[in-house]
Symmetry: C2
Subunit: 205 residues, 2 copies
């Protein structure tokens, strides 16, 4: 695989994967860049160009075989396996994430939950016993966990991030409404409901 | 404003707005499409092209005045005002959203919270008294609310969506891990942590 895929292309692949998975659930076997583009608000030319980075996955005029394209995208994104995820923060949001049913079959599984509050440590949320933040580094190293979800208050986000990075975490999904600083080899994604809300208001008269 | 801005361009503007707001908070007054692109993983050519849809906001070679560009983007996205938002679902996730501090100064304010559970109705979360879902249509119409956040279990998401749409909601931020169907004039955005997680795994060896 060429090493120079632009980040913006990689960023679109999960959207393609989600749309294709939905088409498959609806019973469809074949799709086109045109149909995918209509579903996603992305031009069909852009979709063909994005997929061409990886060999194209389809032949001109015959469309894309959905099950094949799904498998190929999963392989490119490395989600044809299951990544263990550490969840930090067992408040309302952490609890919601621990119960979230959307991870199944999409490459991820919460493996452990941490909090620093004596009220929460030792309690069970979903299928997890909340562990003290002091054990974070040890557990992450022991399980060789590379990905964490950060659901702590904004004022603790950077401190926890530093601990996660020191423990070997290489990808952080940050729910706190604050920018976190990480070394260059660590990826961060933000869950920001306001960005999504701002994507709708333009269209509301 | 021309009526034919592609959805994908509108979708990037909130990212520009967030990056520019951060630069401003860091004390910067001027930026370039190159700097913005580096922060966002988007090519500078793409950024210049996107902004050119709205007149460009900057002169060749002198960079963008950040406060001016921020105001212009807020105007285009219609977030130079405050939209009232209805929150449906007062479980863990709804409760986390009711306490979320990331809405401030970004165009949105939760105005009311609904749930159908007798355990939750009448209770206070954050500054809100949870109201019964039966009052949803009445309150939404009375306050002329156009935007809702959906934080209900997946099995109720479509029913609640139908009620919201009937009450006049035109934008729905859906947290449930399920596709919802709406009429053409209603926008839906999804909060999908898995898409964000899948954007990181490609980079993790």
């Amino acid at each position: 695989m060429p090493p120079t895929i632009p980040d913006i292309v990689i960023g679109r692949l999960p959207l393609y994967l989600r749309a294709l998975t939905r088409l498959a659930q609806e019973g469809q076997q074949v799709t086109s860049s045109h149909e995918l583009g209509q579903r996603l608000g992305i031009s069909s030319a852009q979709i063909r160009k994005d997929l061409s980075h990886f060999g194209g996955f389809g032949k001109q005029g015959t469309g894309y075989q959905i099950p094949y394209l799904v498998e190929q995208l999963k392989q490119v994104l490395k989600v044809n396996r299951e990544w263990e995820v550490a969840l930090v923060g067992a408040g309302d949001l952490g609890s919601a994430l621990a119960h979230y049913r959307g991870f199944v079959n999409r490459g991820f599984r919460i493996a452990c939950v941490f909090d620093n509050s004596p009220d929460k440590i030792g309690k069970t949320i979903g299928e997890f016993v909340v562990q003290p933040t002091e054990k974070l580094a040890e557990v992450i190293r022991e399980h060789n966990i590379k990905i964490a979800m950060l659901a702590v208050p904004a004022e603790h986000a950077q401190d926890v991030t530093d601990e996660l990075v020191a423990a070997g975490i290489q990808g952080i999904l940050n729910y706190a409404p604050i920018n976190i600083n990480v070394p260059e080899n660590v990826r961060v994604q933000y869950i920001d409901p306001v960005v999504q809300l701002q994507r709708m208001t333009y269209y509301i008269p």
